[in-house]
Symmetry: C2
Subunit: 384 residues, 2 copies
């Protein structure tokens, strides 16, 4: 069977998949597809990365005797992606080729330039077998050691078919197989034009990364006494500042234009705030500050909550616990007895005390009932 | 007894406390001190706020028949604080006066100016009874309805005695009582000079607030399809953007100078990043981006972890659960049976799937054991 010709609806076929690049994403895809019955082969310029991925069960190292893959997943660093896609399209003329890089439009431009270059074997016609995709499942660790087949469970996976004058370039079957692979790995599929994708991730992924890094970098020279006062606000805002510089150099420079647009707006806001704070009692100054915070309120209110629904207002309730094994379990046990679903929870703790606060988010209608029942169970309950 | 003359070590005395201002902080202080045996009276310019605070048990409304308080806690909005402190110092010439505003130096300057004004009853000598403090226990909600006596449990409470030429202005007893009140409310006491405090909170509290608001405000006009892709990175960075504009106008404008210094540095970084991204393939461009992210790594590594210790590297392990009552409890129950302490946990979930991932942080030495035991219990376990 040639995967190109049949959409997955027509078959229960598990195509042979070659995963090119066995870092975190590639090895996780290999693990997930192997577990779901696909015959997966692996290749990576690093023999060590390839061996680790094979060892953990992501697939078999590709050998010359293997039949050609029906689907190739290119999981290379962003800068190497277009080259790898072009080489896969020419090496396997019957295969559908997907990539999983986190920026889409620049890769497409590079592929078109390559196809138009008479010195390269790639032709425009080959691009009907290419579908750009972006599984939004990162981790703070990287490499095949961190891989896991469930990495994509319940995570968004964006499929970005290229189009020319409103007509999709990839075949229907190629797009359908890209979608099928994402679904088989447990992801939630979103469709988006490549440019729209890049603008979206600039805003919801690249901007927060930059902001976290900017804030965290100011902490380098801070006195230890200041950092001792740090609370959850600082911890939350800077958590993703722990990310990998090499990866982010490639992501940010591959999506430079949409990010630059956003940063111009950000800089204007910073400039206005600096001017206001240079004479904070001047007329209109306080209104300027209030506007910034209010606009932040409005933007924050648009960030979806759990399960992608509208940001739901859960009611919160805090239970004070000792910091020893079993306490949180005991709390949640009792919550389960009451029959209330915990929509979200976080632990809250701070310097110097061996007690913790478990904050439980529940549907507003259930809070009173839960607070009363938990108090009866003997817990120290505080309502938010 | 006159509270001014005796340090708390010498007595098991529970001084009479007047709380002036019954918003979130004032009402919480009233609740906590009443529960610990203090006779607390309350006053607030808003009769409603005062009545609510009294109703929930924060203390009794102040009446003319009450004996003078031994300690006055001013819990007014930042801009009203200096005026309230001055009036308390003159109205109760035997009392120690504390405030709990989140910025300290500007209040002190205003108090000194008032004391030097011959038209005002306040004298320089009165200032030996004043101690500026800052309990770092905010909430996203405000007002006495949100108050709770445990608000300060395990939270930092900064005590900022003023000094002139290296000599503290407040008496030893005044400082000791400020510390005692904070400790009786369960807080962890830190001592800091007022200016150092203001520079510290500019960095660890005001800068993250500004960054969260700046990022969130850019989301106002974003297409819904972009926001559907939002993950925990965006949610974490923007969480505190939900804060109260009125409060933050006062905080930011009362601490304008240290914040402006930091924002100049931030703007320089943004400018450099914009220049780099305008020609991302220019020589040195990628190195500039890598430097920003690396500096963020370094700063983030300095943010203390749980219990104020150095940021400890816990090992993480993820358990996949159905989204229904009792699942998290069941997970933690089994964890407790294994006898491993959960150092931190978070729930991870995303659009479209009714499953959750419970991420457990445990000491690195316990992870393998826990993962094996949980798998045996039948859980789907994924190691981070």
């Amino acid at each position: 069977m040639n995967a190109l010709e049949t959409t997955p609806e027509a078959t229960r076929h598990t195509p042979r998949v070659l995963v090119r690049g066995t870092g975190l994403l590639g090895a996780s895809i290999g693990l997930g597809l192997s577990a779901r019955g696909h015959r997966v082969t692996l290749s990576d310029p690093s023999a060590v990365a390839q061996a680790i991925a094979a060892d953990i069960g992501a697939g078999a190292p590709k050998s010359a005797q293997d039949p050609d893959p029906e689907i190739v997943v290119v999981a290379a660093p962003p800068e190497a992606t277009a080259g790898e896609v072009a080489s896969a399209l020419t090496a396997f003329p019957g295969a559908i080729v997907l990539d999983v890089a986190s920026v889409k439009d620049e890769i497409l431009l590079e592929l078109h330039a390559t196809a138009d270059d008479p010195g390269h074997a790639l032709r425009r016609d080959d691009l009907v077998r290419y579908v750009g995709t972006h599984p939004m499942a990162g981790r703070e660790q990287s490499g095949p050691v961190a891989a896991r087949g469930e990495l994509f469970t319940a995570m968004p996976w964006v499929i970005c078919p290229a189009a020319e004058q409103g007509v999709r370039i990839p075949t229907e079957a190629a797009v359908a197989w890209a979608e099928e692979i994402a679904r088989r790995l447990g992801a939630t599929v979103h469709f988006m034009a490549p440019k729209d994708h890049d603008e979206s991730v600039a805003l919801i992924s690249h901007l927060p990364q930059i902001a976290a890094s900017l804030v965290a970098s100011r902490l380098q020279e801070a006195p230890a006494s200041a950092l001792e006062l740090a609370g959850n606000g600082l911890r939350d805002v800077t958590r993703i500042a722990a990310s990998d510089p090499n990866l982010w150099v490639q992501i940010l420079s591959s999506n430079a234009a949409p990010i630059t647009d956003i940063l111009h707006g950000l800089r204007d806001d910073v400039d206005r705030l600096i001017r206001t704070l240079e004479s904070p009692r001047a007329p209109g100054g306080q209104a300027d500050i209030a506007q910034l915070i209010s606009e932040g309120n409005a933007g924050r209110a648009r960030v979806p909550g759990k399960h992608g629904g509208p940001p739901q207002s859960f009611s919160r309730l805090i239970v004070i616990v000792d910091d020893r094994p079993g306490q949180i379990a005991a709390v949640l046990n009792d919550v389960a007895q009451v029959g209330v679903n915990v929509e979200d929870m976080r632990m809250d703790h701070s310097a110097g005390h061996q007690v913790g606060m478990v904050e439980l988010s529940v549907l507003p209608g259930r809070r009173e009932e839960l607070a009363e029942a938990m108090t009866e169970f003997g817990w120290k309950v505080v309502q938010s």
